[in-house]
């Protein structure tokens, strides 16, 4: 494992801002602009042929509010790599990986509806778990905990207010 990580480190040194190993996973932090090149290197040079997950982390206090996180797995070397980048709230855009990995399409759709990250190059960012007409991004930290948006009108005696009051 160490050998492949060393090889990765020397290859990605140019692109990454920080590299570390956490829980047996090599963590590569990159600026958003370096994503395409990093992924290309991982896929072509090191056989990272599986995209496991695309997700985001919301840090409300930080200036660059969101971490976008990709997990890759190499079936050849049997190691995982986590690629992380930071984007701001005003323009949360990163490149889509749909051209490199087909599985990115659905993962990016989910990440988009939950965090509002836009993926440049993914033409289908419709909601996948949420419904049409849902306003806001529920996994952002500033989304109200009980911010429900019912599709069916509540029966008499049941107000939205009695739950939204707990906001």
């Amino acid at each position: 494992m160490a050998a492949i990580f060393d090889a990765l480190r020397s290859q990605l040194e140019r692109l990454a801002t920080v590299m570390s190993v956490a829980h047996g996973v090599l963590v590569v932090e990159i600026p958003p602009s370096a994503l395409a090149e990093t992924v290309q290197a991982l896929k072509l040079n090191f056989g990272f042929d599986m995209l496991l997950d695309v997700t985001a982390i919301d840090w409300p206090q930080r200036e660059q509010r969101f971490d976008v996180v990709w997990h890759f797995y190499s079936t050849q070397h049997r190691v995982r790599v986590r690629v992380r980048t930071q984007v701001g709230e005003s323009d949360p855009v990163v490149d889509s990986l749909t051209r490199q990995y087909g599985s990115a399409a659905f993962l990016e759709r989910e990440c988009h509806e939950m965090y509002g990250i836009r993926f440049n190059g993914n033409s289908d960012l419709r909601p996948i778990l949420l419904y049409e007409g849902f306003v806001g991004y529920p996994l952002r930290k500033d989304y109200p905990k009980l911010g429900e948006q019912p599709l069916v009108k509540y029966r008499e005696g049941f107000d939205l207010a009695d739950r939204t009051g707990e906001r």
Partner: protein, 174 residues
């Protein structure tokens, strides 16, 4: 087998009276209630893990057939008990309402488990905090998931409720 007693004559021998029942008197609501409470046809609206307990309670060891409530009808038009088994999300809610509205009167609704009853521990943007917010509920069964005994108790309470109800033959809609 024959202990010597004369069999009860079904057909009167010559007169017009026999020992067999010719009529009995009861109240219409009691009769309808008695008939309806023992012929519950459940529609299982199963969305989550409570389904395992639903299967358990309908199978042999617990045997809801004893209560006339064993045969699930997978068409809402043929069923009169809507068993909502599991979490109902806001995305699912319009489907639940549509199923409920397709059922013919008389109909009853059972909230099976804590998620259907109150949303349970799902207090967030996704889950409906109790199906009684969108459709009327007759019996709530607590538990996560409820034990089969709890479900049977719920069915029996619903039967009592049905027996006590007014069963209008003619309503304003009919």
């Amino acid at each position: 087998m024959n202990s010597g007693r004369a069999p009860i004559p079904i057909t009167p021998a010559g007169g017009s009276k026999s020992a067999a029942f010719e009529y009995l008197t009861t109240k219409k609501d009691e009769l309808c209630g008695w008939a309806r409470k023992f012929s519950l046809f459940p529609y299982p609206f199963v969305t989550a893990c409570c389904a395992m307990e639903f299967m358990s309670v309908s199978s042999t060891p617990y045997d809801t057939d004893r209560f006339g409530a064993a045969l699930p009808r997978f068409s809402p038009r043929q069923s009169d008990l809507l068993m909502v088994v599991g979490t109902v999300t806001h995305k699912q809610a319009p489907i639940l309402v549509k199923v409920y509205e397709q059922m013919c009167e008389p109909k009853w609704v059972m909230a099976f488990g804590v998620c259907a009853t109150s949303g349970g521990f799902y207090q967030n943007y996704a889950a409906v905090a109790g199906i009684d917010r969108i459709i009327p509920v007759d019996v709530y069964i607590p538990g996560c998931p409820p034990r089969p005994e709890t479900v049977i108790d719920g069915i029996m309470q619903l039967q009592d409720k049905i027996a006590r109800e007014k069963h209008a033959i003619l309503t304003k809609d009919f």
